[in-house]
């Protein structure tokens, strides 16, 4: 099977995973393979696992390469702790405003799903807030000196339909504020109350920090792996495999949630991708299910707007229309996108007409491409 990632990077990403089938090649990597690995480790956020592999003696390195790995890892860990400090400041601001939150993705996964948080690198902070508190969260952060990176088409649009928004701290760290777990059609069919029904906490600088419960964390990792980038990062696939193979997941709950969120195709794709990337054995029931899963026509169409590298924001927005329940809500969604506030257009499109033309081109173009 051909993989889009270098073999050595796959071996690093699989290191420490029970039952994987991606061993390190024998002997020290040659100069080209090493240089390729260093690039991959940065892009794929694998410095923690490479450091572990070096410490375990799984990959043969001389003193100079060991120093290089140590430096890569330290740089990633400096970023991690600095982001965690930003996270704590942000949770304080939101807590004082009475906003409930759940920490998502890298930060939570590092502390809850890996034996040592130093194994999992991350590049930003992601927080989930309740849809009904989304606007209050934005306002509280703005009052605290945070800047909203993207304006919304119309007031209340993100609270009703959006994935979320990126806020920038006064120290210039990015905080992604989520209302749901994905943009586009699959983000709109998630039952948001399910994300709040259970929870977990991890300890950070003396504070209990709230996160999603294990099953919902796993589902989110699958969403991220399946819908985030056309070729997912190895670190994200590792999260999926890590949780599947090392956590006592309630697979019935995972499947119930997945079905209720109309996300079976999303979960199946992520689990199958992780299984292939790390050559996992199909004895794991969810992996056997994922490999046998056949998406229907609706799922294929919805998945295409995420997995086709030529798809655009406009195409995802158009595809989301089908998932919005009720005509009044569909009309409000279309109205906001077709006639957004002037502030939304500033710096993006020359005029509403230009936006319409561009949007229609993006929606139509994928359909006429062979």
């Amino acid at each position: 099977m051909n993989h889009p990632w270098p073999p050595l990077a796959r071996a690093v990403a699989a290191h420490g995973l029970p039952g994987h089938g991606v061993p390190f090649p024998a002997g020290a990597p040659d100069g080209t393979a090493w240089a390729e690995l260093v690039v991959s480790v940065k892009r794929q956020r694998l410095a923690g696992l490479l450091a572990l592999a070096v410490a375990d003696g799984a990959v043969e390195v001389d003193a100079a390469r060991a120093e290089q790995v140590a430096a890569l890892h330290r740089t990633a860990m400096v970023k991690a702790v600095v982001l965690e400090r930003a996270l704590l400041t942000t949770t304080d601001v939101l807590g004082h405003a009475g906003v409930d939150l759940r920490v998502l993705k890298g930060t939570a996964v590092a502390h809850l799903d890996y034996p040592d948080p130093a194994q999992r690198c991350f590049g930003d902070v992601d927080l989930l807030v309740r849809a009904e508190q989304f606007d209050a969260a934005i306002e509280a952060l703005r009052a605290g000196g945070y800047e909203r990176l993207f304006p919304e088409p119309r007031p209340g649009f993100q609270r009703r339909f959006g994935k979320g928004n990126c806020m920038v701290t006064p120290e210039h760290h990015e905080i992604d504020l989520h209302r749901t777990l994905a943009m586009g059609p699959f983000g709109l069919t998630i039952v948001l109350d399910d994300l709040w029904a259970n929870g977990a906490t991890f300890r950070l600088a003396g504070q209990d920090v709230p996160a999603l419960a294990g099953e919902e964390r796993f589902l989110h990792a699958c969403f991220h792996a399946s819908l985030g980038d056309p070729i997912p990062r190895l670190s994200v696939l590792r999260d999926v495999a890590q949780m599947l193979l090392t956590r006592p997941l309630d697979l019935d709950r995972v499947r119930r949630r997945s079905a209720a969120w109309r996300a079976d195709a999303v979960i199946a794709r992520a689990v199958a991708l992780a299984g292939d990337a790390f050559a996992l054995q199909a004895t794991e029931p969810l992996l056997a299910w994922a490999r046998a899963y056949e998406p229907d026509g609706r799922e294929r169409q919805a998945m295409a707007v995420y997995t086709d590298p030529h798809q655009t924001y406009a195409a995802k927005s158009f595809a989301a229309l089908r998932a919005i329940p009720g005509l009044p809500a569909k009309a409000a969604y279309l109205r906001a996108l077709a006639f957004p506030d002037r502030s939304y257009l500033a710096g993006r499109h020359e005029s509403r007409l230009h936006r319409w033309t561009r949007g229609l081109t993006q929606v139509v173009r994928p359909r006429i491409r062979p």
Partner: protein, 98 residues
């Protein structure tokens, strides 16, 4: 009548973020703002001070693992502990010793 004075004990501050790296421990006290690395005996001292200990108790714990006269270990540990307190990585503790 008062009994013998209790020794001053130190412990890792809760308000610290840290990561273990290939060379030691990266520490960021969130109330101080500057991160630093503890390596070698510094890393061991940090682990020892996960529980409240006086300088003498910490030095004894290190002395078990490293060679040299105990007095020398105490002399080495004392300024390091003072520096970590200044950086707000360690705090005084009223907790019981080991």
């Amino acid at each position: 009548m008062s009994g013998p004075a209790r020794p001053v004990r130190y412990v890792q501050s809760e308000r610290v973020l840290s990561r273990r790296t290939l060379h030691g421990i990266l520490v960021l006290p969130i109330d101080h703002g500057e991160f630093f690395d503890l390596t070698g005996t510094g890393e061991v001292l940090w682990d020892v001070l996960a529980e409240p200990r006086s300088i003498a108790e910490a030095a004894s714990a290190l002395h078990v693992r490293f060679e040299g006269p105990l007095a020398d270990v105490v002399a080495d540990v004392t300024p390091v502990v003072a520096d970590l307190v200044r950086r707000r990585a360690l705090v005084r503790s009223d907790g019981p010793g080991p």
